[in-house]
Symmetry: C2
Subunit: 139 residues, 2 copies
């Protein structure tokens, strides 16, 4: 994670206590927090951090390409620090849990030229939905 902070500093990012804490909260492999969850966890370490700062910092991390924004349910966006590894998402339709998954092949190639309607297509997101083991156990 200090890698991340190093990289950001090299890009001229001013390193404040608030930003450090937000970056630390996002540390991990299968982390998909909402902005409010990030704020709650950041507040544990830095009680006076404001919501606006959390939103600002998350927005910057997204712009810098360090974190991905995921909106699987039309409610709060979630933030995925696993931005440097190409992956897709598997979402439980019941409890909303998200897993990072890897697909075979490149989904971009599945869209034939005549179906591109003149768009310069540059990105694709694939979201699988189903019932997770925990939820299907407690039916």
């Amino acid at each position: 994670m200090s890698d991340l902070l190093e990289r950001l500093r090299e890009r001229g990012w001013r390193l404040t206590a608030q930003r450090r804490v937000v970056a630390e909260v996002l540390n991990g492999d299968h982390v998909h927090y909402t902005a409010d969850e990030v704020h709650a966890r950041a507040s544990d370490r830095l009680p006076e951090i404001s919501r606006a700062t959390v939103y600002n910092t998350l927005g910057e991390l997204v712009s810098l390409g360090e974190v991905l924004e995921v909106s699987t349910d039309g409610r709060a966006k979630r933030y995925d620090p696993n931005a440097h590894h190409d992956h897709q998402h598997l979402v439980c339709s019941r409890c909303g849990t998200i897993r990072d998954v890897h697909v075979q092949g490149d989904p971009l190639t599945a869209l034939p030229e005549p179906e591109r309607y003149g768009f310069q297509v540059s990105e694709v997101t694939v979201t699988y939905r189903g019932i997770c083991p925990t939820c299907s156990a407690t039916t």
Copy 2:
């Protein structure tokens, strides 16, 4: 479109002026309105229709499988009446325009068993992003 109203009546749907207007607004091939846009257009024909009714009706159409809910940007959900034809979406990153598109093969099969983590996967949505012809012309 009267097909739709027929089908709904057969399922015990009570046919009111409000529901008829909402269904009419959603008529068309590449329609992807937000709830508020549906409400605005419905108000043209039936000025006293309330937001709550539009939300209720859209929710019911989704439950009945007649309309798909699409959330491409984490902001307002959009409603896609093209629910009976399997398709995916192509979104302009600049202006937000949405097109229905058809992909080659079944994206479900691209997720190998070990990547399913015990989920009963039943659904997949694929969203392509890029710049539409209009936006790339007006650079």
